[in-house]
């Protein structure tokens, strides 16, 4: 075991994040605040309630997740891709670290950033709309689980990527659309068929529903399916990373 090595990478990643705090924290918070302002305060007042909750409040958990999912992938994929790109990866590869330790360090740092981002966004939201959190402990727990899943996905993308374009590709073409269509702005129950059934095929619906439940105790899909989705969101990228380390040679020639 090399806990000091894990700590060194973790601190390095956090220091990089602090240096670019504007880009990595302030900018996403401002973007989300604009959503609260436009959809929550401005349009929200003219929208009917969703599942019995004021529209402005209803969209808060989903918008937090939108920001967490994109930033988790961005942070974690960049964290491992950048040393590959500059060549400083040589030092990580030559260090006495196991693959599990390397993943823990990079993903751990990315998860920390995501959780801080989510909490800052939540506080910002309270400036614009009414927010209640019925299950605060579970709110944090779900947030951590979802962040771990998407940071692992980001790490996997960073391992595979051979260019900055590829780094942008999956977040832009897959995750952002799925998140937008994942029930952030509406309750799935409010949709007409066939859109209702189509939407239920989107895994992010389950995450949003479960996370919103921790705020307002309302759910689009049964809570156990949300927990299952969180489990899968961690297990699938973890298995993919393990597979790469065992067979592929993405980091080493």
């Amino acid at each position: 075991m090399n806990p000091r090595g894990v700590g060194a990478i973790y601190r390095f990643e956090m220091a990089r994040w602090r240096r670019t705090l504007w880009q990595s924290l302030v900018a996403p918070v401002i973007t989300t605040a604009l959503y609260f302002l436009v959809f929550g305060s401005a349009i929200g007042s003219r929208m009917s309630d969703m599942a019995g909750i004021d529209f402005g409040s209803f969209i808060v958990p989903g918008l937090i997740l939108l920001s967490v999912l994109t930033q988790s992938i961005a942070n974690a994929s960049f964290g491992i891709y950048f040393p590959k790109f500059t060549g400083t990866i040589y030092e990580i590869l030559s260090a006495p670290l196991s693959p599990i330790e390397t993943v823990t360090a990079y993903v751990g740092a990315a998860v920390t950033k995501s959780v801080i981002l989510a909490l800052v966004t939540l506080v910002t939201a309270t400036l614009f709309v009414d927010v209640t959190v019925d299950h605060p402990l579970l709110m944090v727990l779900f947030l951590v689980l979802i962040s771990v899943g998407f940071c692992l996905l980001g790490f996997f993308i960073g391992l595979l990527a051979n260019s900055f374009e590829q780094l942008q590709f999956i977040p832009l073409l897959v995750v952002t659309p799925l998140t937008f269509l994942g029930g952030i702005f509406y309750s799935v129950a409010a949709l007409a068929e066939p859109w209702r059934t189509v939407t239920l095929a989107n895994p992010i619906v389950y995450l949003v529903s479960g996370y919103r439940w921790t705020f307002y105790s309302v759910e689009d899909v049964p809570l156990w399916t949300s927990l299952l989705a969180m489990g899968l969101a961690i297990a699938v990228p973890l298995a993919a990373i393990a597979w790469i380390f065992r067979t592929g040679k993405r980091l080493k020639q």
Binding site: R11, R19, L93, S94, A95, P96
Partner: protein, 311 residues
């Protein structure tokens, strides 16, 4: 018998593209020696170092560092190794101090500011400790790379072409440091293109060409073999054959008999040249010009590789 710190047996590397960069290399490195790996571009020097350090995966053979297999027991092996890679790759926004402290932590060593201070002073980087990497010159960056490699007090130090792009002064400093490290018991393996550099620094030299170790031995023995010069006399009158009186020297005729060539060992006590000149005088062989030329590295590699082919 001195202790073996690195044991390499039958090491093979075929890159994904099909390049066979190493073709069964056997090599042992002894504790406390300075070993120079000499070879032309593309010989496989960096590949060999990268495999021992865990950056490239071997496709055959075995490597043990202090008896620890580099794959089965990689932690024990890697903790004892420091590497200064050929390319200067650094985190542009990190400060000198942070990047060196990072390296130490990465290799699992507890924080030790006093040691890092002493290390940075030794490499004349102390004044620059708060500077960001991008603010440093190439030579300073290379010193930081050395500081990073030494940050965890390794027993083995790899220097991959340490003098590429380095001025005379830094080169001298670097050799001084290497000697001090050796005095402290560190084993040093360096790669170079230059025979002179290997000659100046190393205790033992290995010559690698096309992924094969074509010569290996103590520096003095090998230098005798490598340090051949060719002495050329441009004759007034071309000769069709060598006169009998010159049979003591292994001479050959070139340019249709217009040039007399003599290969000699520049390190030998007796080169035989004065005697040859007197003999030519006696025989009345006139010449108008002469040159002596160090066999180039390419010549040497070619001859070594051919020797390898024959045996």
């Amino acid at each position: 018998m001195s202790e073996t710190v690195i044991a390499i047996e039958g090491l093979e590397k075929a890159y994904a593209g099909g390049t066979r960069a190493l073709k069964g290399v056997d090599l042992t490195i002894d504790k406390g020696e300075i070993f120079a790996l000499l070879g032309p571009n593309g010989a496989g020097k960096t590949t060999l170092i990268s495999i021992v350090c865990g950056i490239v995966t071997k496709t055959g053979g075995s490597v043990a560092v202090f008896g620890h297999d580099i794959e089965g027991d990689y932690r024990a092996a890697r903790t004892r190794i420091g590497l200064v890679p050929q390319e200067l790759t650094t985190d542009a926004f990190e400060t000198v101090w942070d990047t060196v402290a990072f390296s130490r932590g990465l290799f699992g060593k507890p924080r030790d500011d006093a040691y890092l201070e002493q290390l940075l002073k030794r490499l004349t980087l102390w004044d620059k400790r708060k500077a960001r990497m991008m603010e440093l010159s190439g030579g300073m960056k290379r010193r930081v790379m050395i500081a990073k490699a030494l940050s965890h007090q390794p027993d083995i130090l790899f220097l991959d072409e340490p003098t590429a792009g380095v001025d005379v002064e830094l080169r001298r400093d670097m050799w001084e440091l290497v000697r001090k490290l050796q005095a402290d018991g560190t084993t040093i393996i360096l790669t170079t293109h230059y025979i002179e550099e290997a000659e100046e620094m190393a205790d033992r030299v290995g010559v690698i060409a096309n992924g094969e170790l074509v010569a290996l031995g103590r520096k003095d023995e090998l230098m005798a073999q490598l340090g051949r010069r060719t002495f050329k006399l441009f004759l007034d009158q071309p000769m069709t054959s060598l006169p009998d009186g010159l049979s003591d020297w292994s001479l050959r005729l070139d340019d249709d008999g217009a040039t007399l060539c003599y290969d000699f060992d520049s390190h030998a006590a007796e080169t035989g040249i004065p005697q040859l000149m007197r003999k030519l005088d006696e025989l009345g062989i006139a010449w108008r010009d002469l040159t002596t030329r160090q066999s180039s590295l390419e010549d040497i590699f070619v001859s070594l590789v051919h020797q390898g082919d024959r045996s």
